[in-house]
Symmetry: C2
Subunit: 207 residues, 2 copies
């Protein structure tokens, strides 16, 4: 499994001619790294003398962000599986009309799965950005840059997810599914460019 | 060494209360993932019938981006070492005036090292963005999203490097060094926000 591979091995496989792991796994890792940095800022705020007033809040953020990290880590594999399912569907036989129908149904089903994974990644990454703001504002100032890097990393994951959603919706025939997916994507992206920029500026002011 | 740790272990240590690995290592990994994705697009373009005209260019990009990936991978460790050197300098004795002078010199020296690493990361990440455009424009359209994710990932690395440079320059007394570092940073960041957005739009059009 990818999450058990060393970072060096993962990068080697990523760079290779094999299409998986690809951008989808990178997105999940970025989201998980963002979540991990938020968790680190929480840890380095809890128990510090000047931050007693925010300890309850930091405990709550830590709990939520650790769950997000675990979710995002699982998306590394989910993305590869979803991609492999699409490839498997495309390689089904297409000799007879019945074959063609079966193959088309399988492709459409797999494409929907491959759309769902980056949408879920986008949702988790958006939440990581929101939690980055909380720890950038109220967490230990000594690690404010890590809160900033968390937001920038999670925003890259969010924006990249949008590409991974759209590459699949382009081939999906169920127009209701496509419309709903793109609407959800728009909702998840809304305001996040400005929000990330605002967190970046906030961190710069704290340095 | 971090690059030998599994992705899951790395994320665990990143999330922990230990300040290293932190944002600096995340930046190096993001840059390296961006480089790896560019390499993957090159591999999946080379040898394909419709892309013979760009094969020489793809070979050149591949060679350069694989060197960048290796450089960025080494920055994971370099960042931790630079941070540890700063921490070690701060914990030097400060009992006598001579101690204080020695400690101050050591801190200043270590801070310069800790500024150099993210600057070098920023330089490599900027180049990854430039190479992402080449493969997004002329590489295999089937993996255009991966070229887009490469650009977004490398841009997050570039922007995050800026925070890691500034957190150190804030404590450096050598104003010439600070001015030159910030000038170099500005040069590296210049135009990259628009360029990344433009690559993102280009990829969206290809889907």
């Amino acid at each position: 499994m990818i999450k058990d591979a060393s970072i060096e091995q993962f990068l080697e496989t990523l760079a290779s001619r094999s299409p998986t792991p690809g951008g989808g796994s990178v997105v999940a890792i970025m989201g998980a790294m963002g979540a991990a940095l938020v968790a680190m800022v929480c840890h380095l705020t809890l128990g510090k003398v000047h931050y007693e007033a925010v300890s309850e809040e930091m405990e709550a953020v830590l709990l939520e962000v650790e769950a997000l990290r675990s979710t995002l880590l699982n998306f590394i594999r989910a993305d590869v599986e979803a991609f492999d399912a699409v490839m498997a569907a495309y390689s089904l036989p297409k000799a007879t009309d019945e074959d063609k129908v079966k193959r088309s149904v399988a492709i459409q089903w797999a494409l929907k799965g491959a759309t769902r994974v980056p949408l879920d990644c986008a949702k988790a990454s958006r939440r990581v950005i929101e939690l980055s703001r909380l720890v950038a504002e109220r967490g230990n100032t000594n690690v404010a840059t890590d809160a900033g890097v968390a937001a920038l990393t999670a925003f890259a994951a969010l924006r990249s997810s949008a590409l991974n959603v759209r590459v699949n919706t382009g081939s999906i025939k169920d127009s209701d599914f496509v419309r709903e997916s793109l609407l959800e994507l728009d909702r998840l992206m809304a305001g996040m460019d400005q929000e990330t920029h605002s967190i970046y500026q906030l961190v710069l002011q704290k340095l």
